[in-house]
């Protein structure tokens, strides 16, 4: 139990003292999560919209597959990405292994089904009358997408925030693809895993608190988007 208290105290120390290795991990975490969120939201919103909005043959099956993709283990994604970007892999030339970009690619694959599935299910719930109204007001395809998504913006926010939580806390991809290299690809979660493995539980807790603090700040700055 003590290490939890110690961890919280240590977290404050880390944040205040500006511990170099902590800050590089914070930066790495922010970098990869921002890139992967931008990519996965950018791709997931329209995909989720299309799946949720239109009725087509096989929609139910597609939804089942999408739900299954929510259960992609991170290590699995990590391995798959590794297979592609390792030296021997088809994309080995790009030198993406052990880089933040590599991690971001994996995390995008992780977050994309989450954003897509939740968006689809929210869009599916959209009032038929809204669709008819938009069409009857002369909205083109883009306007329909944009307006519908804006109508359900609180739900979309939840999709994004859920995916963000997933990305922020994943370890498997960062470890496998990033290699947990100190000062470079070490993210907070891989650092937590390391400290825990070292038996430095208090440090693990401290870094966990740092991560949650980041999430809190991000969510706080998003909360202006919430329903007033």
């Amino acid at each position: 139990m003590d290490f939890i208290v110690a961890g919280f105290i240590k977290a404050i120390e880390l944040l205040i003292s500006g511990d170099y290795s902590t800050w590089t991990a914070v930066l790495a975490t922010l970098k990869v999560s921002t890139i992967s969120m931008l990519l996965s939201v950018g791709a997931g919103l329209p995909c989720g919209f299309l799946i949720g909005y239109f009725d087509f043959k096989g929609k139910k099956h597609l939804r089942t597959i999408l739900d299954t993709l929510l259960a992609l283990p991170t290590v699995f994604i990590g391995l798959a990405v590794y297979a592609f970007i390792s030296r021997q892999g088809p994309l080995g030339e790009l030198g993406l292994l052990f880089t933040l970009t590599g991690i971001a690619i994996g995390q995008t694959i992780l977050a994309f089904p989450i954003v897509t599935a939740i968006t689809a299910s929210i869009v599916e719930n959209i009032d038929q009358d809204l669709k008819l109204t938009l069409v009857s007001l002369g909205a083109g395809k883009r306007n329909i997408i944009a307006t519908c998504l804006w109508e359900v913006r609180y739900g979309i926010l939840t999709a994004a925030v859920t995916a963000y939580g997933r990305v922020l806390t994943e370890v498997g991809i960062s470890m496998m693809v990033g290699g947990n290299i100190k000062y470079h690809t070490r993210t907070i979660t891989t650092a937590i895993a390391l400290e825990t493995n070292k038996g430095m539980f208090a440090d693990g807790i401290a870094l966990g608190v740092v991560l949650i603090t980041i999430a809190f700040i991000v969510n706080l700055s998003l909360s202006f988007l919430r329903k007033q």
Binding site: N180, I181, N197, G199
Partner: protein, 251 residues
């Protein structure tokens, strides 16, 4: 149910498959069932300190001694060893092949060739730090060529392979790596044989004063069994791709 023992051990004993090979014999002979969790040495010691396990099998002698001195551990029984080696790419850019360990490290530093460190405070990592110190080199924590993975041995070897770097590994894991590569491992053993490179494994029992609930008697039985001629022979016979991984040395 009472004849059940919980052990924390380092990843190398588990990852090489030694325990899967050894423990069924132990269970058969003693009637004690043994469960183990394999983690970093640091965490294994911590689990012992917190009494969450009954016995430890680890390889970090200095840390083990402190553990006992702090009143967490009771007996420390050396059971086997293997050795550490420096491996690196065949073309050996820092030209360390055949050199002694301190010279080799100096070469690596001066040529700034990538060196992969586990950086995870494991037994291996502790040994590596000691070697830098012995070579008179201050810990190159923030050097660009010094890459700390914070991961297990195999993962670190794989980083070394991808980055064309050197690393220090225990021989057991290296052989495992070789076996996985089916004989065409790109990293070769370049430095070996120094007595400082010995990697001693020991069984630690917990001090019943600290952990009254831990099964001290069963733990003693386990450490006794590990030192028994029977077990020592089994360890001697454990091979991977025809190579020995551990050398029994119980006294």
């Amino acid at each position: 149910k009472s004849k059940e023992l919980m052990m924390a051990t380092t990843t190398s004993t588990d990852n090489t498959g030694l325990l899967d090979y050894l423990i069924p014999h132990f269970e058969k002979e003693t009637g004690i069932s043994l469960k183990w969790t394999s983690t970093g040495t640091g965490k294994a010691l911590k689990l012992g300190q917190n009494c969450d396990v009954d016995v430890l099998l680890v390889h970090a002698p200095p840390a083990e001694k402190i553990f006992i001195a702090n009143g967490y551990g009771k007996e420390r029984r050396e059971v086997m060893y293997n050795d550490f080696v420096i491996i690196g790419p065949e073309n050996d850019p820092a030209d360390i092949k055949g050199k002694n360990i301190s010279e080799a490290l100096k070469m690596i530093k001066s040529k700034k060739v990538v060196f992969i460190s586990r950086g995870d405070d494991s037994g291996t990592n502790k040994k590596e730090k000691l070697l830098w110190k012995n070579a008179g080199i201050s810990q190159p924590d923030k050097e660009k060529w010094y890459v700390q993975t914070g991961q297990g041995m195999l993962a670190s070897i794989s980083v070394a392979e991808q980055r064309d770097g050197y690393t220090m590994t225990d021989r057991g894991t290296y052989i495992k790596y070789q076996s996985q590569k089916g004989g065409n491992a790109t990293l070769k053993v370049l430095v070996e044989g120094d007595s400082i490179l010995l990697n001693q494994y020991s069984v630690l029992t917990l001090d019943p004063k600290n952990c009254p609930n831990a099964k001290y008697d069963l733990a003693l039985k386990f450490s006794g069994w590990m030192a028994s001629p029977n077990a020592q022979n089994l360890i001697k016979d454990f091979r991977l791709i025809g190579k020995k991984l551990f050398i029994p040395n119980a006294k």
